[in-house]
Amino acid sequence: MSRLNRRKFVKTGIAGAAGIMAFSPVLASEPSALQEKKILYRTLGKTGIKVPVVSFGVMRADNPNLCKAAYDNGITFFDTANGYQNGNNETMLGNLFKGIPRNSFILETKVKPAAVGRDGIPTDQTTAEDFLAKFNVSLSRLQMDYVDILFIHDISNPQLLKYKPIVRAVKKLKKDGKTRFIGFSTHNNMASVIDAAASTDKWDVILTTYNFKLPNIKEMNAALKKANDAGIGIVAMKTLAGGSFLDKEKTKPLNTSAALKWALSNPNVHTAIPGMTNFDHLAINLKVLADITITDQEKNDLLAANAEPGLYCTGCTKCMPACPFNLPVPDLMRAYMYAYGYSNPSMAYTLLGELGTGSAPCSNCETCRVECNRNFNVKEKISDISRLVNVPADFIV
């Protein structure tokens, strides 16, 4: 494998929302360079595994040479899943790692239990047999006898944590040496799921959504502390809060280093797995691997990024007490989302009819007292969507 020795990353740069930052990191060209390089490590809870603070979310990567470059530069923890690229992701990693000493990297994969409802509750088709069959396929693709961590993929309801067929299955895999440690990933309702998990001694590691835009950050931080105190390793994902840009037109780039550093500023987070698809991403993240100090400029960038409202109401309901007319603000925001986000005015029309808030529910207020966590201009959005009520039903497509 040839090494990078002339790569120039001088051009690499990301524009923060409040300024431009240029980075010029250089990938280590020789193993000896790695020894001199400063890499920050943390211990992944009771697993005792020493992990670099920046790991590799491989999900979208399709170039094994990128993964090798990360490995050679100290990023030794790799995250994949049974379902990523319909299995091609695990196959790529399997081919890469077959020539690399097994104890020199940490490999984690995820398996999704079948037929879990949209409410996160398992059904009678959520079976251990299916789960174990998928895991064995993963091992085969990875060309490994074991993985370091096996996550149950996507738990959003604490009920699934108690679902015996799957819990017994992962425990058996650990006992049989097919995985060294077990855990789960959680993408929604994370605080309550983590809190519930931390009340038991079943789980070694949790992979969770964690970013500067989370609306319930206090609850989330409390849950992470409880999990850390219980000895559970914490891996952060989605640290960019949905992508490298703040708007769908891709005109406002996110300061990705700042976002990653923010997640790692919580000592209860042991490593993060930013997704990387090119050498520029890697070069930026390697700088964070050596230094997670957030500069004032980066703090400002994150503040500005947080002020970007986006389109979707998180349904936190914190706004509701402020409305003097007790309007169902989250529901009205949902109607707005149906019309403009889902392009489905029919759903918006039906919802508005059910709410019965009329065509001008904000007309009695000159100024709006509602303060939205997402910085929505609530009055403007309600006034806009409520006009739909005046349109005859026959006109709604």
Partner: protein
């Protein structure tokens, strides 16, 4: 008042246009279909497939229609992803395709694997799956797939560019279309890729067709500059250079088309030249 009515009409004209792209779902004997899902758009695809949405978005995803077909306790889920064009639909399809799957003759191409059946046709990528183990239900996947394929507009063809790859040594069903960060480089985009195995040598060929020779020149300049190669008066031709972790690269350029070969070493230049010449003849 006039303004209000006009605003409403404008609002509906815009949202109705998007919504008018809604697809209908075919009926299946013995099954009852329903959809409790919204029509997903680039803004909310994350709600449905979470982080995988980023890959779909990169292939110019436009919308997704989801339906469930129920027969007793058995459920078949149908997902129809609409992308910008046939190439994008092939791109996302090929990123999730493995040569080990059982391929079937449907749409541009399709396959069956572990309770799922995926295919693409025209600008659509269709995914059908069930958790049922019943043989009858599994057979129904194919019946439904054929009905959906009949219903969808567009040609049942592979992208034309794939026919430009030489057949000798080409690995079957491993061609892909990569939208972003080809070989891990942000400046390399929109490449068809084919894998080859010739006399125990494995290598990949990437084919990029830009909109003009000038656009090609910009890409070549970026790549050579990134690799530290001098770039004066680029008019076309061949370059061999080392690209860090990607190893030796054979880069050829003629008019709008760029061919990149990765996986061969400099002493295998003859093989690289042979394949390049066949594509750029």
């Amino acid at each position: 008042m006039k303004y209000k009515i006009l605003s409403c009409i404008v609002l509906f004209a815009s949202v109705s246009f998007l919504y008018s792209q809604e697809l209908s779902f075919p009926d299946m004997q013995g099954y009852k279909w329903s959809t409790n899902y919204p029509v997903y758009t680039p803004d909310n695809l994350w709600d449905f497939i979470d982080g995988a949405a980023e890959t779909y978005l990169s292939y110019n995803f436009e919308n997704l229609h989801v339906a469930e077909y129920k027969k007793g306790r058995n459920v078949i889920k149908l997902e129809i992803y609409r992308h910008k064009d046939n190439i994008q639909a092939f791109g996302i399809y090929s990123s999730e395709r493995s040569p080990s799957f059982r391929f079937i003759n449907i749409g541009g191409q399709g396959y069956k694997a572990d309770g799922s059946l995926n295919f693409f046709k025209g600008k659509f990528y269709v995914k059908i799956r069930t958790y049922s183990k019943s043989e009858k239900i599994l057979q129904s996947l194919e019946t439904l797939a054929l009905k959906v394929a009949d219903m969808l507009p567009g040609e049942s063809v592979m992208p034309k560019a794939l026919s430009e790859f030489p057949e000798m040594g080409k690995k079957k069903n491993e061609e892909t279309y990569i939208r972003e960060s080809v070989l891990g480089h942000e400046f390399l985009q929109d490449a068809f890729k084919a894998m080859y195995e010739v006399n125990d040598m494995s290598f990949s060929i990437f084919l990029i067709d830009k909109s003009s020779p000038d656009e090609s020149r910009k890409v070549i300049t970026s790549y050579l500059s990134n690799a530290g190669v001098e770039t004066d008066d680029l008019l076309g031709g061949k370059y061999v250079f080392k690209d860090g972790y990607n190893g030796d690269i054979f880069l050829s350029w003629k008019d709008t088309r760029i061919v990149i070969i990765s996986g061969l070493s400099k002493d295998q230049t003859e093989i690289a030249n042979r394949y390049t010449s066949e594509i750029l003849r």
